[in-house]
């Protein structure tokens, strides 16, 4: 035998083996007859009860289609596939790599003043003349110092409020100061203003164009729903938002404006109209978001007026309508579903802050409130407005990036948020797709981990995961559309 031939093995070597070993996996019921199993890197296989037990007790025929599927997705390995451990390690490292580049998003609450009085507002908005609720330049400078100390090569500075454009002078100052600082840091710097667009002016548009400022606005649906949710004294909030959207598109380009909707009780029966409103105004995506249990939404009992089941029904009907639009050639995707699909099928998953393990608090975003206080997430400052300061990480006056990120309370919260150590989550097949959301559980259960059997967050996420996987399994047309979103 030549040296070359020695590298080749005979046909018998490739005959199906009868022996196989299991690789780490989790399983959860998908419906009355099927289970979904996932591994640590998010690959999934759907099986019947009998198939699951045959697989787990190594009675599965190795020449079956299911075995081949399990082997291809690293649920089993045999003498012919010892590379599985190496591949799983590589994939796991790829998914976890983003954690090292921590804190790419820095939210500056430049004012609490606002001209709207939205029923679901998550912060304690202040009237337009109360300038004591504006951020000072000194605090902005110190916050920028912390923001630029992040190891992340991406640096997104987002302006929130209140209505941030009511303190546009400070936005201008921060943008110009950050741009100057970045000549030394050379980060991929981006600016976003979360605005209701009522106060857009020629000056603001020109400045935004010069500095490539992005905008995120609220669009809750057709005029009646939007204006009922977002009252604006003496004017139509919907008309202002639509005018602003088109103005930004024309001046800056379509990619510079995105919109978010919030589901209120008034929205529940009108999901198709809400989606059609997005299509009518040229949006290619919509995020069907439920209400968060913070701020005015709690004080006005809005969050108690619909439950998880109501929202899930709303979401499913909405997704069905989006599929119909896609079949008619209208390009539109749903954002929450897209995030789930990214977690299921992309090597690096999704960096969506609310679905991370460990949680995205501080790792994903830091918030600098108008008064210089630092919070581990936007929801954290909303929780503080409700009297719970458990996510407050000190003041920009005294803290540095290092002291914020090594804050003992923060590390404790992050430690608790690793799903691998959370009761129920540790055994859940949806773990690779899910997140901890300690702020939700702190707000609803006064405990950052919470008991998942009682958690509205868990119920909602499980229902979404089950629905998406069922569509992928049972509806080829829906599967084609879903796969086109990633």
């Amino acid at each position: 035998m030549t040296e070359l031939n020695a590298h080749f093995r005979g046909r018998a070597e490739f005959a199906p083996t009868t022996r196989y070993r299991l690789l780490p996996c989790r399983f959860t019921r998908l419906d009355g007859t099927r289970y979904v199993a996932t591994n640590d890197v998010g690959e999934h296989v759907v099986m019947t009860d009998d198939q699951l037990r045959a697989f787990a007790t190594r009675r599965l025929a190795v020449d079956s289609a299911l075995y081949r599927s399990l082997k291809a997705r690293h649920f089993v390995f045999d003498d012919d596939s010892l590379v599985a451990v190496d591949l799983l390690a590589l994939k796991y490292r790829t998914r976890a790599a983003a954690i090292a580049n921590l804190t790419g998003l820095h939210i500056f609450v430049v004012t609490l003043r606002c001209d709207h009085s939205c029923h679901y507002c998550q912060v304690s908005r202040q009237t337009e003349e109360r300038t004591q609720f504006d951020m000072s330049r000194e605090h902005a400078d110190k916050a920028l110092e912390i923001a630029f100390a992040t190891p992340s090569p991406q640096l997104k500075i987002e302006f929130q409020g209140g209505e941030p454009l009511l303190n546009f002078d400070l936005i201008k100052y921060i943008v110009e100061r950050a741009t100057a600082l970045n000549t030394g840091f050379r980060k991929n710097l981006q600016f976003v203003i979360a605005s209701n667009l009522t106060h857009l002016s020629d000056e603001i548009i020109a400045f935004s164009k010069e500095h490539e400022v992005y905008y995120s606005t609220s669009l809750d649906g057709p005029e009646a729903i939007h204006n009922a949710n977002r009252p604006l004294r003496g004017a139509s909030s919907h008309a202002a938002a639509i005018a602003g959207i088109h103005r930004i598109r024309e001046a800056l380009g379509p990619r510079f404006i995105s919109a978010l909707m919030t589901t209120t009780p008034a929205s529940l029966s009108r999901v198709t109209e809400i989606i059609d409103e997005y299509v009518a105004h040229g949006f290619r995506s919509i995020f069907l978001r439920n209400l968060s249990p913070y701020g005015f939404a709690v004080r006005t009992s809005l969050v108690r007026r619909y439950d998880v089941d109501d929202w899930i029904e709303f979401y499913k009907r909405g997704l069905g309508h989006i599929f119909e639009l896609n079949k008619r050639g209208v390009r539109l995707r749903e954002e929450l579903t897209t995030i789930v699909l990214q977690k299921m099928f992309l090597p690096s998953g999704s960096h969506y802050v609310d679905l991370q393990s460990p949680a995205g608090i501080a790792i994903g975003a830091l918030v600098y409130n108008y008064d210089g206080m630092i919070y581990a997430s936007d929801e954290g400052r909303m929780l503080a407005e409700m009297g719970d300061k458990s996510l407050c990480l000190g003041s920009v006056d005294t803290e540095s990036f290092e002291s914020v990120m090594t804050n003992e309370r923060l590390i404790g919260l992050l430690d608790d948020s690793l799903l691998e150590s959370v009761p129920m989550c540790t055994d859940c097949a949806f773990l690779p797709y899910c997140g901890a959301d300690p702020v939700f559980h702190q707000a609803t259960m006064h405990d950052s981990v919470g008991h998942k059997a009682f958690s509205g967050f868990c119920s909602k996420q499980m229902a979404v995961f089950r629905h998406v996987i069922t569509l992928l399994e049972d509806d080829p047309a829906a599967r084609n559309i879903l796969m086109s979103w990633i």
Binding site: P24, D40, L88, A89, R93
Partner: protein, 111 residues
């Protein structure tokens, strides 16, 4: 071992579970997962069995309790299988994670 007829007595269902079939960890995990339906009180195990009392809210019906017991044993089967898989694959999971981060230098060094 499931009693032949589930009897809701003073808001409780008494179960005796065979530890040769289900491990204690699975028994407790299954109870935790169904905590919204009942509170489980797990007694000190004997060599082969453990007594588990499922305590319901006073308003629940016999049918609800019966369905809860069915779900509990359904979940118990799943939890037991999860424990079997975890027992077999636990060392492999540790190996994969160790391998994944084996080349990672987590300590910032000054050159």
């Amino acid at each position: 071992m499931l009693e032949p007829d589930v009897l809701l007595h003073e808001g409780c269902v008494a179960l005796t579970i065979d530890l040769r079939i289900y491990r204690l960890k699975a028994i407790k995990k299954a109870a935790y997962r169904l905590a919204e339906r009942f509170t489980a009180v797990v007694e000190t195990p004997t060599t082969e069995t453990v007594a588990v009392s499922l305590r319901f809210k006073p308003t629940v019906s016999e049918a609800y309790a019966r369905e809860s017991v069915r779900l509990y044993f359904e979940e118990l089967m799943d939890q037991e299988l999860r424990e079997e898989i975890a027992e077999e694959t636990g060392p492999l999971r540790s190996l994969i994670l160790a391998h994944a981060f084996s080349n990672l230098d987590v300590v910032k060094r000054d050159d």
